[in-house]
Symmetry: C2
């Protein structure tokens, strides 16, 4: 008996087991989250209270007189199976289990987790978790991330879905995204994934118009799911984007995965090959993963092979050239036509090659005029624009002037290093295009767009 | 006739050729820099003015009635040889030439540069430059970096010397350091290095008590200097530290180097081997270079082989394990004695291995108590401490509590991701130990301490 995930992603009513009026309790954080964003009915469940924040509080889920779509369970592991069964019996079709202490801690936990599996089989209730943060979904208002909103701000609505076995990683991503104003469709942290896994979610997201890309922190797929995952991903990546950060690459890392979410990390070489086959972009490190998120949020799905490095600092031009070559970008020279146009604009000792070094003597207006002409000629798939705005003649007006010349056709990423004075310029510029601190960061970020 | 570098590093008097009262002019920036910090005599030289800011302004250096130790030259390239010769004839022993337009721009420039070389040979005047930012030295007050102090703040006095052929890279490093309050002995950007080069500077710094480490951005050594550089470095690294970032590794990068500072980048494999032989730490990227600077400023010269990963987030523990393994750190388990001590402190489902995962359920005090015991046992050469401070029970008091348990014996680097709420904690904590955003950044940073 397979049920769809609607009760989990679009519930009209939710029961929160472990709800509490006491600050710092997990059940308090979750209740407050739902009260802030969720527009459906909320039923606190906790035998200790008659009501919480003016809401009637129930002893058991089965005591709730109305229908309930989703149950959120945040109580010690040993009590979870009974609560889940009580809810399933009542007809609840979706559950998010936050509690830790299952198969990741050994034999006792494994037994408890098997009980969840049996209930899932018997009643068909779909389960997210246990041992994860659950779901944050700005569209539905579901938010089981048990950290107060004033500690980790929530990202706005957007077109990226995040899947993470690890709760802490999901939380880190959440904060990182909201800091940058990058929107999400949902963030899902399903820990030991006793039921719903990456395959189920990809199926769900295939038809979801709010999802253009899925970013996955993956410890290991469940046994027997590899084939389906690759097959589905192949289909998915024809129109949408998947990025995977694989954890448990090293032998030591694989052992750590077993202690963490009781997953089998598997042979990394096999994964690497499978991801490639499936059209999935692999992020080698969490740093790359974050950069890919950033670039995707600006430019979506693009194809970049030919890159121009445009700089007013020679040294950073050289470093960028080394790094871009190493990462497999093409750095063709300018066409003779474009070259002669640019020569008219820049100082005599500028180097009109690739990297194109305007030198520190080029004033702001020449730097921008040159960039404008490069954009108009459309000879490159992307531009890495390195700016040292601290030089005399550069002003805080740079971002406004850039907005005037930028047509949005060619992806540009900026590199601006520096502190106080640069901060304002970086902030303003990043409303238009991505801005990074160092050439290598920018080039690593561009890798998400690279033709593979 | 070889003269020492004292007139350049400890001048009592300086002539600034090209000095100007006009804002934004290079000669205005440099004059203002000297007026701010330099305690010796300052002589502006510019035929257009009789006095600037109340200082008498001279038409030529030779018009100055007193002795001059150092001349700073910031005028168009074609006028530089005559000015240099005039100064050398007068007996000036040191020159910093800021001007661009020499061998990096082709044949004409090469001729001009040869003239500088001839004057250097004839009169023995020592030259920094041309085509660089010159010198910033907080001890002597020499500061020819032609960017206003309110655009790029200057770092305080410290024990690190920076050498960079590239001016923009030197400037970027300057700003990056001052942002973090990391002090320097001096920053030197000598562009085409017609005279003084890395070898001369290493000789100088060997005896300089204000220099414990030299960080070099290197495009290429001058012909015939390789052997001496390696020999000297071998000696130098017995007591002090050298870190090199080599630019021009790729073929394209080598071409870019030629256009930039007219250097021969040379065969990278040869450099790689030579650096290793010389006991030099190579930074693969500018990102690594910056991280090494940061870690050195906290811990100086140390040796790390055995690393413990200590985390309250499992996913980041796994990622750290993968990355630390890849980078060659040993991750031995805890001794049985330490293990049983830690078991008493942490929750039941904590994973007392390496990575040591306290889990998100460990309250702040347990996290710190565990860390304290780990430090006391001294089983590890360094600790990577991953903290998710957004969890309930963690407080803004964490840095103060950490300061109480930290004895400074074992290097610790923290990983704290996050925004608003974490910022204060990061800021406070970074007064004691380095703090990074992601596990990979922290591990890359630790590589400077790794036993090679």
């Amino acid at each position: 008996m397979e049920l769809d995930l609607e009760p989990i992603f679009s519930p009209s009513s939710v029961a929160i087991v472990g709800a509490s009026p006491k600050r710092e309790k997990v059940g308090n954080v979750i209740l407050e989250n739902f009260l802030r964003r969720f527009r459906g009915k909320i039923y606190p469940v906790n035998p200790k209270y008659d009501n919480i924040y003016g809401l009637k509080c129930y002893k058991k889920v089965s005591d709730i007189p109305e229908d309930v779509d989703l149950v959120v369970i945040a109580i010690p592991a040993r009590f979870v199976p009974d609560v889940l069964e009580d809810a399933a019996k009542k007809g609840v079709k979706g559950a998010i289990i936050i509690s830790s202490g299952f198969s990741e801690v050994g034999e006792e936990g494994r037994k408890l987790e098997n009980k969840l599996r049996e209930i899932r089989e018997k009643y068909g209730i779909r389960i997210i978790g246990p041992n994860g943060m659950g779901i944050y979904d700005p569209y539905s208002g579901v938010d089981t991330f048990f950290v107060y909103d004033d500690r980790v701000r929530r990202p706005p609505k957007g077109n990226i879905a995040i899947i993470s076995q690890s709760g802490a990683t999901a939380l880190a991503l959440m904060e990182w995204l909201s800091e940058r104003g990058i929107g999400v469709s949902k963030i899902i942290s399903f820990g030991n994934k006793v039921d719903v896994d990456e395959v189920d979610l990809l199926e769900e997201f295939m038809a979801d118009p709010t999802v253009d890309a899925v970013f996955i922190y993956l410890e290991g797929l469940k046994e027997g799911r590899g084939y389906k995952f690759v097959k589905l991903s192949k289909e998915f990546t024809k129109t949408k984007t998947i990025v995977v950060l694989k954890a448990g690459k090293s032998k030591k890392g694989q052992e750590a995965v077993a202690s963490h979410t009781a997953s089998m990390a598997g042979d990394y070489e096999v994964y690497k090959f499978a991801l490639k086959q499936a059209g999935i972009i692999e992020a080698e490190t969490i740093d790359d993963f974050l950069k890919y998120l950033q670039v995707f949020s600006y430019f979506g799905k693009r194809r970049v092979k030919k890159l121009l490095i445009y700089t007013n600092g020679g040294g950073f031009g050289v470093l960028s050239t080394d790094y871009a070559s190493r990462e497999g970008f093409d750095l063709p020279p300018l066409s003779p036509a474009l070259r002669s146009v640019i020569e008219e604009i820049l100082p005599d000792f500028a180097s009109i090659k690739n990297p194109l070094d305007t030198t520190a003597s080029a004033p702001e207006d020449s730097y921008l005029k040159g960039l404008k002409r490069v954009l108009e000629f459309q000879e490159y798939d992307a531009i890495l624009s390195i700016l040292l705005p601290q030089l005399p003649s550069y002003t805080e007006d740079f971002p406004r002037k850039f907005a005037e010349i930028y047509d949005g056709k060619t992806p540009i990423v900026f590199v601006i290093y520096g502190g106080e004075f640069s901060r304002k310029i970086k902030e303003e510029l990043s409303k238009i295009v991505p801005v990074f601190d160092t050439p290598e960061e920018a080039i690593r970020a561009l890798k998400i767009l690279k033709v593979r």
